[in-house]
């Protein structure tokens, strides 16, 4: 296993250099990338964009947006971006509407370092986007008002004592993240979400609001207006890094949801040489670890070795963590997206 990965890593490096050199020689092409604002775009700019420009001479422009789909869909006839970071269900949706370039696995040598289970593929076997990094979903807790031991199970969210003290995410995410997780722990999964509905309903009954942005929940959690909520681990790490002392993260005993992110390329995007090189480049261990450092997102390149401080922060080795995270079939999630959003909306409004 290790030797194969080592070979793969060497191949990646060689291939990337091979791909990058012609571009360096000609100096044409650029990356125009869209990313979520704040930390995400800064991570890509510093962790990948600047090193990429240093190596290949090609400029990297990163533009911030609240969401990938509006602009990508609006510009479908004449794409101005040739790169975007997105969620797996964003990618599945866009692909279904014919808006993305697809790839042959062999054209992106670095893909060999990513376990196959995490590569999003189209029915015809082509790769829809290139995995970038992942994080996971659990429960964030305000430790002034509750203890992490109060939320060792997802089902603790339904406890009557939390009425009016929790928060829940928008139906678009609640239906793809929370509902899927709740279904899984109740014996269902992303195909059969019915077992997850009671807990979803109970969470809604206990929630005081639907949070609409990271910033909003950050404020509500740190101010104690909300005691706990299903939330992203990197957000809690971020709050702690910025000095918040009263927020903590719990990975429930049933496990958490793995949240992967990938790079997608709009159909007919410009500068193919540039984006193919970029897609490979970001998977190199050095860039993957730099992004981990900047934002807490965990690497997909299985040869990237985590430092002790990162392992400590997770609380266990990466291998053990992955064993406790559930990765749904995102294609199924995306396909049923619309009806499940409606379902969750109606569920939460009663």
């Amino acid at each position: 296993m290790t030797r194969r990965n080592l070979l793969a890593a060497t191949a990646t490096l060689a291939a990337t250099l091979a791909l990058a050199t012609p571009a360096l020689a000609q100096g044409r092409g650029e990356i125009v990338m869209g990313a979520w604002g704040g930390g995400t775009s800064a991570t890509w700019r510093t962790g990948v964009g600047e090193p990429f420009t240093a190596r290949t001479g090609m400029p990297v422009r990163i533009n911030e947006w609240p969401d990938p789909e509006p602009q990508l869909r609006a510009q479908a006839a004449n794409p101005q971006y040739n790169m975007a970071i997105a969620t797996y269900f964003n990618a599945a949706n866009l692909h279904r509407d014919g808006l993305l370039e697809t790839f042959d696995a062999k054209d992106i040598p670095a893909l060999a370092t990513v376990p196959d289970a995490y590569v999003l593929k189209a029915p015809d076997g082509k790769v829809i986007g290139i995995p970038a990094y992942f994080q996971y979903y659990g429960i964030a807790v305000n430790t002034d008002l509750a203890k992490t031991s109060d939320f060792q199970s997802w089902n603790d969210l339904a406890a009557a004592k939390w009425k009016g003290k929790l928060s829940v995410t928008r139906p678009i995410y609640a239906s793809t993240y929370d509902l899927v997780m709740f279904a899984k722990i109740a014996g269902g999964d992303e195909k059969n979400i019915a077992p997850g509905l009671p807990l979803m309903k109970a969470l809604g009954a206990n929630a005081v609001n639907v949070y609409n942005s990271m910033a909003q929940l950050n404020t509500l959690l740190t101010r104690g207006e909300v005691t706990a909520a299903p939330y992203y681990v990197t957000r809690v790490w971020g709050l702690k890094e910025q000095g918040a002392k009263n927020v903590d993260f719990v990975l429930p005993k049933e496990g958490g949801l793995m949240l992967p992110y990938l790079l997608i390329v709009p159909k007919n995007a410009k500068h193919r040489d540039a984006y193919m090189a970029f897609l490979n480049f970001q998977l190199e261990p050095q860039q993957q670890l730099k992004m981990l450092d900047l934002s807490g997102y965990l690497p997909f390149n299985s040869t990237a070795q985590l430092e002790k401080k990162d392992v400590d922060r997770i609380g266990m080795p990466l291998k053990d963590l992955l064993a406790r995270l559930y990765q749904p079939d995102w294609e199924v999630v995306a396909r049923t997206h619309k009806e499940r959003i409606d379902l969750v909306e109606q569920l939460l409004s009663r």
Partner: protein, 268 residues
């Protein structure tokens, strides 16, 4: 109007209520912590430094200011020309026409995004400044229309006729009599349209691109992902800038924005 102590208290309360959340935001902008907190705790100017040193933020501010100024100018002009004819000439279906003009205001703002996208797409202007400008002009025309029509309707035509009977030519009358009397309406129109355009986010979300993005869109994008106080710093800078501009206008031009001060109108 019965002006009781209760009335005065109410007005004072409202004048306190309006700036209240702004004051909180301003104070939160000075925090050294990485997330918006009130009380700010340890103080720092780092978020101002981050904003003023960021070409992306500054660029989006400039784009928003230019966009709002152009949108305000164009929509006020377009509305003014149309309103002149509308209020002076009788034609059938006038009420219906006015409803059409107000349609971008009547039709829910959230749904306008797709409409504007269709329009911008017609000219190949998606993700480009002209597309944004066109959308903002259309959205702000109703806001310019109402104050201008209101002002025009109040205008006493006999003033103009008197001036002309004294021998002044129509264009002179227009410039020296009509326009000054319409000033409150025109200034209100410019102000409303500027604010609406400057603050607009849900339509602009569809129309921006890597080369042009507005400040509200950027703020919206920022908070989706992170809660850094830089947005509080940006808001404070905007407030400070406006206060500065008003102060300057006051000192330099002595401009009373809306008012025909009563002293001027009273006959000698």
């Amino acid at each position: 109007m019965p002006w009781t102590a209760a009335g005065r208290t109410l007005v004072a309360a409202v004048l306190l209520f309006l700036p209240a959340p702004i004051v909180i935001v301003v104070m939160s902008s000075f925090t050294a912590r990485g997330y918006i907190s009130f009380p700010p705790g340890e103080l720092s100017l780092r978020w101002y430094a981050e904003f003023l040193a960021s070409p992306d933020w500054l660029m989006s501010l400039v784009v928003s200011l230019v966009l709002a100024a152009l949108a305000a100018a164009f929509s006020t002009l377009i509305a003014f020309l149309g309103a002149l004819v509308f209020t002076r000439k009788r034609f059938p279906g006038a009420a219906g026409f006015e409803t059409l003009v107000l349609l971008p205001l009547i039709f829910p703002h959230a749904a306008l995004g797709v409409v504007m996208l269709g329009m911008a797409g017609m000219f190949g202007w998606t993700g480009r400044f002209p597309g944004l400008l066109l959308a903002h002009v259309i959205m702000t025309v109703p806001y310019a229309w109402r104050p201008i029509v209101s002002s025009l309707r109040k205008l006493d035509l006999s003033t103009e006729e008197a001036a002309m009977s004294l021998g002044a030519r129509p264009l002179y009358v227009f410039r020296r009599v009509t326009l000054p009397l319409l000033r409150p309406g025109l200034v209100t129109a410019l102000l409303f349209t500027f604010i609406i355009s400057f603050d607009e986010v849900t339509v602009s979300l569809f129309l921006v691109g890597p080369d042009v993005t507005t400040l509200p869109v950027r703020i919206f994008a920022h908070i989706q992902d992170s809660g850094s106080p830089v947005i509080a710093a940006i808001s404070t800078v905007l407030v400070a800038l406006t206060v500065l501009v008003v102060l300057l206008l006051d000192r330099l031009i002595g401009l009373e924005l809306f008012v025909e001060s009563e002293q001027r109108r009273r006959p000698a």
